[in-house]
Symmetry: C2
């Protein structure tokens, strides 16, 4: 591609008109007393901030990580660059002896899915967690040395969430002690498998184990899929990239088909279940609960990440809304200059509520992860006992009782669904709040949104997951109705509702923060017992209740978020690092999140009698509007505290220095390869294009 046309000198001298973006952001920062550094430490810890600074310094000077062509490059180029980056990153990680945290931060800063992604996560984790010592020796060592580069091949063209429905088979052959891996149909093709399309030479393949014609469900098999030298697919294996996607185009999500491929006995990962090679007997899983523990952990990290993912969009949109001016305030005396867009209440109601949401999600994720870690040892100790409860697939009628972990597992499903949906939808709100320029890739929001989007589908579809929450809440409600004593928070709020439902609720949502939390708990309990009535008394079909269950899960998860946010701000040992003004502002953000959520879902709060119509009206027209006004002056400093380097966000609109228009113009005028071509525009011409500035051509006019 030839270079873009040069920018003439007279253009280079032009500046944006009026007050400069840098002056506007400086003024924003001057009028707020939020201690940005202290708040950054509160969010990320000093260690986290130092790590980020150290790694950023390293990456931004490596040529391969230069981002300037990211938004322009096509699929093949983007993939090739991403692979080159992944290689370089691996070399740096080895050279500097990086920890796991270091690698996560580096990937965060680079901000694109890379072709080693699934090798470094699911492939290594699965080998480590599900392999025997012999298999560690044989597979894991080489994988850790990047001789085996792997992927995790579970999803198929015809099956996603329903793992039990997978069609790929692994048939045990007692004669020569091998398995035959086979794809009996087109829908059995592995599909969506990250790092498989072009990169991996090995795969962990989830396949239906069959012994003597009897199926034993899906099990993991380590299978070599490409030649170690030529990197071509092995015989009877068909592999490829599945094609372009809405986002994630730096990743080679792939497909994979087997035509009766023979693998040795050692290929089946055998830590938890295995086939006895002598007797051909299937030996039962030892501790499947550990797998469910991993899923719970993954979901907790998704909740915490959701806060940061959204914060990036909010940072960009908030800074740009402070720089962008449009129209005059209708009531303003001075009609000569235009108003910063951030001053409009229609912008505040979108951006400031989302700003509050970033903190709400962050503290909720952090709360869950603390709870998870605290309980992790307990779970390992009595894995056998909690196993059945945690699988969540047991009969709906029984309840295993007072298990904190069952609670954590169920709430992690609901919170993953709520948090990722909130972040995805919120990013799009941020993008649109940027007006026309939000549509440009240079806004940095669109590409980020597109890459994050699948989080709403994977690790459990956001609709499917809500059934698990509802199932758990119904079980718990039955247990409470039987008179069992509360042993976790969910039981406690259900018990409290039963005790007080006669006299009704009287929550002072506008006056007391703890009453706001209680109103959310009340609504969740009300909906739980409503659903229980439909199911157990009215005997309604499960399918007819799915919509109610979705609402129930959402209500309960919103309660969890409000509760976690409230608790995070009421632990003096934790919040002590913040000055009183900043802490007070955080309390206002809590109230904004809670009241705005409450009034958005007003009808459920009425119906449950948690609040009155008058309270909702006041929340909507007075309390929320007042909070917006109070938080407004601190908006830019609050997003500054999230501490995203410009290099990471790669956004014209979100630049820390406010040089929004200069950056937009520079990228368009000097970096855009399309400006390197000159076309013949006339419909009559046969000659279509001429890709060079120096030649002239004659049109057929």
């Amino acid at each position: 591609m030839p270079p873009a046309a040069p920018t003439p000198e007279w253009v280079k001298k032009l500046k944006p008109s009026g007050i400069q973006g840098s002056e506007l952001l400086a003024a924003e920062r001057a009028k707020s007393n939020v201690d940005v550094d202290a708040l950054s430490r509160f969010i990320h810890t000093q260690e986290g901030l130092d790590r980020k600074a150290r790694i950023l310094k390293l990456l931004e000077h490596e040529k391969v990580f230069d981002k300037s062509q990211n938004y322009f490059a096509g699929r093949v180029d983007r993939f090739e660059t991403a692979l080159a980056r992944a290689k370089k990153l691996r070399q740096i990680a080895v050279h500097h002896n990086w920890t796991q945290e270091d690698k996560i931060v580096a990937n965060d800063l680079i901000s694109e899915p890379g072709p080693y992604g699934l090798h470094e996560s699911m492939f290594l984790i699965t080998l480590r967690d599900q392999g025997t010592p012999e298999q560690h020796e044989k597979f894991l060592k080489k994988a850790e040395a990047y001789e085996y580069i792997g992927c995790y091949a579970q999803t198929e063209l015809g099956h996603g969430s329903n793992v039990r429905g997978l069609e790929t088979t692994a048939t045990w052959n007692a004669d020569d002690k091998t398995f035959i891996i086979n794809s009996p149909s087109l829908t059995a093709s592995k599909w969506w498998i990250g790092s498989l399309g072009r990169t991996a030479n090995h795969a962990v393949v989830m396949a239906q184990l069959i012994i003597n014609g009897r199926p034993y469900g899906p099990h993991p098999f380590v299978v070599q899929i490409r030649d170690m030298k030529t990197h071509k697919p092995l015989e009877n294996i068909h592999i490829g990239d599945i094609g372009p996607k809405f986002g994630y185009n730096t990743m080679d999500n792939g497909f994979l088909l087997f035509n009766k491929v023979k693998v040795p006995h050692v290929s089946m990962l055998a830590r938890f279940s295995r086939v006895d090679p002598e007797t051909s007997r299937y030996l039962r899983p030892a501790s499947p609960s550990l797998i469910y523990g991993t899923l719970t952990w993954v979901r907790s990290t998704i909740v915490m990440q959701a806060g940061a993912v959204l914060a990036r969009g909010v940072t960009i949109a908030t800074r740009y809304a402070a720089v962008r001016r449009q129209f005059q305030d209708r009531d303003a005396k001075d009609q000569s200059s235009e108003t910063q867009v951030l001053n409009y209440t229609t912008v505040q109601i979108r951006l400031l509520t989302l700003l509050a949401t970033t903190f709400a999600l962050h503290f909720t994720g952090r709360g869950m992860m603390k709870l998870y870690e605290a309980n992790q040892k307990k779970m390992s100790a009595d894995a056998g006992k909690v196993g059945s409860a945690k699988r969540g697939a047991g009969p709906e009628e029984t309840h295993s009782g007072s298990d904190l972990l069952a609670d954590l597992h169920a709430t992690s499903c609901g919170l993953k669904s709520l948090a990722s949906s909130t972040a995805v939808d919120g990013l799009e709100v941020c993008r649109r709040a940027c007006g026309g320029h939000g549509y440009s890739s240079f806004s940095g929001i669109g590409p980020w949104y597109a890459d994050y989007l699948p989080t709403a589908t994977w690790e459990g579809d956001n609709y499917m997951l809500t059934q698990q929450v509802a199932r758990y809440l119904l079980k718990t409600a039955r247990s409470v109705l039987k008179g069992n004593e509360p042993t976790n928070d969910t039981m406690a709020i259900l018990r409290n509702f039963l005790d007080k439902s006669d006299m009704g609720a009287a929550f002072d949502i506008l006056g007391k923060d703890e009453d706001l939390v209680a109103a959310f708990a009340w609504r969740s309990a009300f909906l739980t017992f409503e659903a229980l009535k439909h199911r157990d008394e009215q005997k309604r079909s499960w399918n007819s209740l799915l919509v109610d269950f979705y609402r129930l899960s959402r209500a309960h998860s919103q309660y969890m978020v409000v509760k976690n946010f409230y608790e995070a701000l009421n632990q003096p040992d934790v919040t002590g690092s913040l000055d009183p003004d900043t802490l007070n502002l955080m309390h206002k953000l809590f109230r904004l999140y809670a009241l705005h959520t409450l009034e958005s879902e007003a009808s459920e709060f009425y119906t449950s009698s948690a609040v009155t119509v008058r309270q909702i009206m006041l929340a909507r027209t007075t309390a929320v509007m007042k909070l917006l006004e109070e938080i407004r002056p601190h908006a830019v400093r609050l997003v500054d505290a999230w501490a995203f380097p410009d290099w990471q966000m790669d956004s014209s609109l979100g630049r820390y220095d406010g040089k929004v228009y200069e950056d937009m113009f520079y990228r368009a005028s000097e970096q855009n390869p399309l400006n390197g071509i000159v076309v013949d525009p006339y419909p009559s011409s046969e000659v279509l294009f001429k890709e060079n500035h120096s030649q002239e051509f004659k049109s057929k006019l």
Copy 2:
């Protein structure tokens, strides 16, 4: 790019497992008696269907319109192909003597924004509408012959919606009777201008007219910007493409800067206002209302298109939901085979409500366009009289009275906002309802969504527009309060509310369709008088009420949709072509749309006392669920009636024949250029890539 790897023979023999997609869709079509052809005619007219069939036949055999690489190609390739298509289309149009309708249908079928887009719309329209006969001779003729290829340069880097804030100047020079077009700052750069980046050689430039140092506001100037032979920018003009966007990447949206470029007096389009070349006097606009009329027309078409835009996503998602099977119904006796996803109520509540919405928007747009056309003559006749009312920029305190057109203008703003937001958000709901495969470009929804997205921003930002609706409703309410007799529907519903607000409402929303419409009218009137109280009695600031105004506009627009849908189904002369069963089903779709909207916005309906809590509970848990069950069997035939050819939708998931998985696989395996490269995957290697299947390489293992 080398071709993708060949598909082995054993793969070609594989079929999807279980019941085939084609069988499932055939079964769906067999169990419904909806007369697809009659319903198609009802939506599109026979003439429209015939036109589409005729043009499709022509296009699908032209090689340049082959869509198979659309999802794979990068920006430059996509633009070049789009330009080649635009040229060919122009040649065909000339050859076959196409009408305007023919061209619209052809563009609909091709379904991508093309580089002649703005030439063929805004450039030609503006020359035609705002040029004098002399200017028609000089500019329009050559533009119609495609010698002048133009664009409409209004938006600037620093100014979008606020046209009065444009910075580009056109300074009158009495000495030599010329204008100097100039960009005084970087933010004055024209930006987002469709067809400008690479294609246009002329532009209609909106610039601030300055005479003797005094500004006269923005006016249109015809300016040559590129050389007619070399197609290079003229001296002191800097032009380029603004870079990649979320969608719309087949269009060369451009930027444009002027360094004191001199143009002759004839350049200013002078039908409505002009500069007298002898006296340098500014002569006032004759009939600006015509421009507002055009905007109203454009918005009406957006509303109608929104229905069809959404219908395309609903068609894809509904067909795929009938083919895709996942899990068993929990209560089903037969747990051996999986359930069609379309049977789950969580899927129905999303897709069937959106299916109802497609018809609601379609009939609303049609209703508006009829009203517009009926009034168009009247407006031309007394353009002077209605001018000031239609501009909507007059003082808020006065009301021009009984003007149907003022009503149409205001409601077109609100409906444009509601309809385009509904279509955009609905498409994303459809995409996610497709599960993981919705994320693949082959779903056909993502790219379509991305291209449609800017409709929510252009022709008036969806938030900004709502102020105009609120302003109009407040004016109208003041007029009604003064005792003026209703002369349009908005006045009538406000009057009715005042008359009955003492005794309160008692709408039988579950029993009578007309009461459903009345409940929406009641809520709109209630919110209008609430807003009026805040503004006129409580003297609240305009800015503090913007959020309320947004809600008010939304409420009033939803009323308009419900009313138009209801009326469309209650005109025997129109609906006579439908058999009773199909018409009955359409009434059910009306009720589903209305009740689902009502319960989604429940809190406003409570607050206004339009309905009781009990009614909402029944609507939610009983009426809506029952309607979903009744409409479910007809879902596939209903989307069939929208009559999108496969060629147009270009979607694996939405294929008419249900061969979803075969198509996904074929595109990935045989059309994907990324599969033409082989990489060296090892981090230690220096050699990064090898783009050829035939060679082997040695890794550095």
